[in-house]
Amino acid sequence: MNPAAEFVRKKFREYYQKKGVIAPEGIEKREFGFGNDKKIDYRHLSFTKEEELKNYFVTNSPLYASFSSAYYEFPGAQPMPKKNILAADLIFEFDAECHHDSLTCSECLDKAKHDTQRLIDDFLIPDFGFDRKDIKITFSGSRGYHLYVVNEEVRHLNGDARRAIVDYLQAKNLDIKSIIRGGATLKSKGWRGRLAKAAYEYVRASNEKKFTEKEEILKKMAEGNYDLFRGAHSFWDKMLNEQIIHLGSAIDQSVTIDISRLIRLPSTLHGGSSLLCKYVDNLDEFNPFRDAVVFYNPPMKIKFTKDVSEMVLKEQTLGPFKAGEEKNVPEYAALYLICKEVALPA
């Protein structure tokens, strides 16, 4: 293993010695996976209690730690069918795809935050009837958020049912024609009502000339008469696009659908950032570059291997830095930069 990774693991070990890890609910039924070179180098591991899990972290201090959303009778058995799946939490993943030249880009993470909030407020609570207290959010330690629905009812949804939920959030297979033909009013529920309201609101707020007799148009729309919008594909596409939940890539979606997947274990450190994967109580006020930083202030010397533009960590502005230069930075920033593979311990 390279010295940088060795250094990070030493720091991770110190952290785990001090803070331990929190066992996920039903620890004895979960599968665990760990990695140093890759996110998951080995899996099919199982633990019976929190103490045992903590010891594993102190001894091995892996750079990445994941656990199964599923509960198994024999979590350590392999191949997969021998585990005998009993249930699985319902999980959504929002990853920020950031193309900005910043290692601490709040803008992109805020977008992921916004989508997470919208999923809860616009879909999970009103449509699916979930209780807010059954919805848990974690910061993944890297680029996004995981949303867990933890209740007895969703645990037994099969893979097809989970796929149907993902399709629903993205309005896949929505029969728009039947809505235009009069199948939806402002009182309709689900996607029909959502689109009817979006179209109504759009016209109400619009200054476009074609909506001159606005009152009349709105009255008709409220009754489910969309004659004016027949064949107006771009209009409906626009309405739809604003409402759907963008779950991102197929890989992000597979977290929801594939119940044999492993996901980042809350209360553990992320080897790609040194930030803590942690539960978020108040999403609105959560700032990962402040609230998920766990290391300390003492300065430490590092050597930059790449140019790094100005960044903000723990509310401190740092940089910019040039490749090749050696600098003293607080330990938390040193670890962050080393994990991001832009610097090495000097």
């Binding site: 949804l157 297979n173 529920k189």
Partner: protein, 331 residues
């Protein structure tokens, strides 16, 4: 039980009422007679063909038939469900499940709202609200029909409950039935009545072996060791159990031993009853109402039934091939 209640059970043999009735009759799958299991097998093979008219025809038959037919319809359902599970053939399971579901969907649409609601309550937690039935979304999603109009996105959902009209609720119940057939699993080792295994083989029948239609005069000397053994056992007074008797009778039928002669082979048995034996053999010979002739099981099946006694003369994989080849060689 009133005839109308039995009719209900025949239409909906997957309901609580049907199960309770079978319990009440103390019907035990371990000691069903062969004809009943065969009826179950027929229920499956019928569904594998063109079943576009199947639902309507069945509906008429059930509507107009009396007790024996209705009883058969009722009992053959669990039998056929076990048989399909035992085939471990996913495509066969799906075809059978689809035919059963289609039939029940047809029946349910003709029910009034209250009856439909009462049946649906056995599998889901529906609530009635004006013209709608509200179903918890989890229950809906685990049984969601494939067609686009049933996609969640095209339905109204609020507060975790999906609004369905009567037709969609009927479809959901039928889809539940479909799922229960497709996902049913049974361990062969748990089947005490080996006749189930015989009919599973019949359903899956592989006709790779070919035997000439007319084998000529019966020759005991050409019998394969398994049949010879059963033949000798039958000559003693010691009771020969059901499975060897059954395979032996299929063998006698296949080599076309005259039925009178076949009956006489059983007469040394202490519990010999000529009438019963004849009835039984006539079944094997395909002389009974359904005209089905039972074929002789393959050697590997004979082995799994525990009636194979292979020796070094066995060079074939089917008792009938053994008989035909040996007979020809003796000429």
């Amino acid at each position: 039980m009133a005839l109308e209640d039995l009719r209900f059970c025949a239409k909906y043999p997957f309901t609580k009422e049907a199960r309770e009735y079978l319990d009440f009759l103390k019907i035990n799958l371990d000691n069903l007679d062969d004809a009943t299991i065969e009826y179950g097998a027929k229920r499956i093979t019928e569904s594998l063909g063109d079943f576009s008219k199947y639902a309507r025809e069945k509906f008429e038959q059930i509507r107009t038939s009396k007790e024996p037919y209705l009883m058969n319809e009722l009992i053959s359902y669990p039998v056929s469900k076990i048989l399909t599970a035992l085939t471990e053939d996913r495509s066969l399971k799906k075809k059978f499940a689809k035919a059963e579901a289609q039939k029940v969907y047809y029946f349910l649409q003709l029910e009034n709202e209250d009856s439909l609601y009462n049946i649906a309550k056995q599998f889901f937690h529906p609530q009635k609200e004006k013209d709608w039935f509200l179903i918890p979304f989890q229950e809906y999603l685990n049984n969601m029909p494939e067609e686009k109009e049933y996609a969640l996105v095209n339905l109204e959902i609020e507060d975790g409950r999906i609004r369905l009209d009567k037709e969609k609720l009927a479809k959901l119940v039928s889809q539940y039935l479909y799922q229960s057939i497709v996902t049913a699993k049974i361990d062969k080792r748990d089947i005490k009545n080996k006749m189930f295994l015989y009919f599973v083989d019949e359903i899956k029948k592989d006709r790779r072996y070919a035997v000439p239609e007319d084998l000529g005069k019966v020759e005991f000397e050409a019998f394969p060791p398994c049949m010879r053994k059963i033949y000798h056992e039958l000559q003693s007074e010691e009771k020969v159990s059901h499975m060897p008797r059954f395979v032996f009778s299929t063998f006698l039928a296949s080599i076309k031993m005259p039925i009178e002669e076949a009956v006489s082979l059983f007469k040394n048995q202490s519990n010999f009853n000529e009438k019963k034996t004849r009835y039984y053999l006539e079944h094997s010979y395909g002389l009974k109402s359904n005209k089905t002739k039972y074929s002789v099981p393959t050697c590997s099946k004979m082995e799994s039934y525990g009636v194979c006694c292979r020796d070094n003369t066995c060079r074939w994989n089917h008792p009938m091939t053994y008989y035909a080849k040996t007979k020809k060689a003796r000429k």
